[in-house]
């Protein structure tokens, strides 16, 4: 379970403090997924980094499985927007890196990695370097890397946004399959309303205006079959889009 209580993050700028997020409260049950969506600059990445324990100073509390977040204690899988693969390591070494750092030899199970790679369709690419891969293949490697860790929490920052539309939908399905198999509590940032609806049990709309959450939507469409083609999917998407737009307009009015 991930629990975010009254979290605010302020960045020091040259002249003063800038509040990136303010008073965020959020709860994700074990094995749940949550999409974070909102206009650019509203603090989505900041929230994610905070939950990953990457921001040293913040107000409020973040709990993972009942304990305060600490990268040394919990296993936190973080997937940055550019995949964060190391160009000087082969695919296999990139996947193994997390286990090496976690000093978790019991996870260094060749079979798990092999199986994951097969499931992701990258079993033949183990000895290639990231520059020798297409964007979609890099994405798969990044997924293998986080899932191989069997993390307590999975955090993804705009995971599929660099891919073309068709590959993106394919990756979304691949992600869902892995998520069902490993049952990992997941929070991901996206700026695609459709992605939020397809992958998020909960959808958190962040506001650039207040720096906090403007709405949490329990997504009734999640997990349905072929929901991408359904009428409700479009309608929900429209509704979400309007919510985000309203927030934007408020900023303009305030200026």
């Amino acid at each position: 379970m991930i629990k975010v209580e009254n979290v605010s993050v302020k960045y020091k700028t040259d002249s003063d403090m800038y509040t990136a997020i303010a008073n965020v409260n959020l709860e994700i049950p074990d094995g749940g997924t949550c999409a974070v969506i909102g206009p650019s600059g509203c603090g989505k990445s900041t929230l994610l980094k905070c939950i990953a324990g990457l921001i040293p100073e913040y107000e409020g509390q973040v709990y993972i499985n009942g304990e305060e977040v600490n990268p040394r204690v919990q296993t936190i899988g973080f997937m940055p927007q550019n995949y964060g693969l190391l160009p000087w390591k082969t695919v296999v070494d990139n996947i193994r890196l997390g286990m090496k750092i976690k000093k978790a030899p019991e996870l260094l199970d060749r079979n798990v990695i092999k199986q994951l790679m097969r499931q992701l369709g990258i079993e033949g690419l183990g000895h290639r370097y990231p520059v020798e891969l297409s964007g979609g293949q890099q994405q798969r490697v990044a997924l293998a890397r986080v899932f191989a860790l069997q993390p307590d929490v999975l955090l993804m920052d705009e995971p599929f946004s660099a891919l073309d539309a068709i590959t993106r939908e394919e990756m979304q399905d691949i992600f869902l399959n892995l998520w069902r198999k490993f049952n990992v509590s997941t929070i991901f940032v996206t700026h695609y309303v459709e992605e939020a609806l397809y992958l998020g049990q909960k959808i958190v709309v962040l506001s650039a205006h207040t720096g906090g959450i403007s709405q949490i939507v329990d997504n009734p469409l999640f997990g349905g079959k072929d929901i991408r083609k359904k009428q409700e999917f479009f309608e929900m998407g429209l509704k979400l889009r309007n919510l985000i737009k309203k927030d934007w307009n408020q900023i303009w009015e305030n200026q």
Partner: protein, 247 residues
């Protein structure tokens, strides 16, 4: 790849020798002896006279280089990874970087004498700055995003250094050494012309003063061979350690 590169080195050597030979045929003066005579002379005297000088020169280069890496690498890492230290150290580096190190030679000789240490420190200074700046810039260029997945797993500085900082700055580090070494060798030649009776610089200048052009040319050829060996070694290390770059 290794094979085709050595073919080109061989071709270059043959080409230069031919140019040299043609020049010697045209000029017909002792100041440009035929490469054949030089080769003959070299094989006669190498073991007895030249080898010891080349070993001295190599030792000075190796000692200066090692010292520069031992000091420069940590300094570059600290400056690249910790912005606070960089703010403090960068002005120091930039104020001293542009000074031609050879201009410091008189001071070094006054402080450390004309013997080994001033020669080694000279090489050390020439390579040091290149290494510091290259490593620092290499580390600075690493996107923060690359580090996040490691931080979120609780990676300590040791992990970060060996998994990211070192491999990321290695190509720039090696290039810096390659560039600095060329300067270092020519400055070494100069510093070896006084305060020592050993080193390729001494050998070549001594042969010149004795008007023994054959030995002088032998020395020059050996010096360029030393350079060749050093640079190919660096190339090989780079190809081995940074092969991911050539993909």
């Amino acid at each position: 790849m290794g094979k085709s590169v050595s073919v080109w080195y061989l071709a270059a050597a043959v080409f230069l020798t031919i140019v040299w030979w043609i020049a010697s045929e045209i000029v017909q003066l002792p100041i440009i002896p035929s490469p054949l005579l030089v080769a003959e002379n070299m094989s006669d005297i190498f073991m007895d006279y030249i080898a010891i000088h080349s070993i001295y020169s190599l030792w000075r280069i190796a000692a200066g280089l090692l010292l520069a890496v031992v000091v420069g690498l940590p300094l570059g890492v600290i400056m690249g990874y910790f912005p606070k230290w960089d703010r403090f150290l960068s002005p120091l580096v930039y104020l001293t970087y542009p000074i031609p190190k050879i201009a410091l030679l008189p001071i070094l000789m006054l402080l450390f004498g004309v013997g080994e240490s001033s020669k080694i420190i000279m090489i050390f200074l020439i390579i040091l700055f290149q290494v510091v700046v290259a490593v620092r810039d290499g580390i600075r260029a690493i996107p923060r995003e690359t580090l996040y997945p490691l931080y979120s797993l609780g990676a300590g500085f040791k992990d970060i250094f060996f998994e990211v900082l070192w491999p990321a700055s290695l190509p720039k580090f090696i290039t810096a050494i390659r560039v600095a070494l060329a300067t270092a060798i020519s400055v070494l030649f100069f510093t070896e012309t006084f305060g020592t009776r050993y080193g390729m610089g001494y050998f070549i200048m001594d042969a010149w003063l004795r008007v023994n052009y054959l030995e002088m040319y032998s020395g020059i050829v050996v010096l360029s061979l030393i350079g060749l060996v050093l640079f190919t070694t660096i190339d090989l290390i780079e190809q081995h350690a940074c092969h991911w770059q050539y993909k």
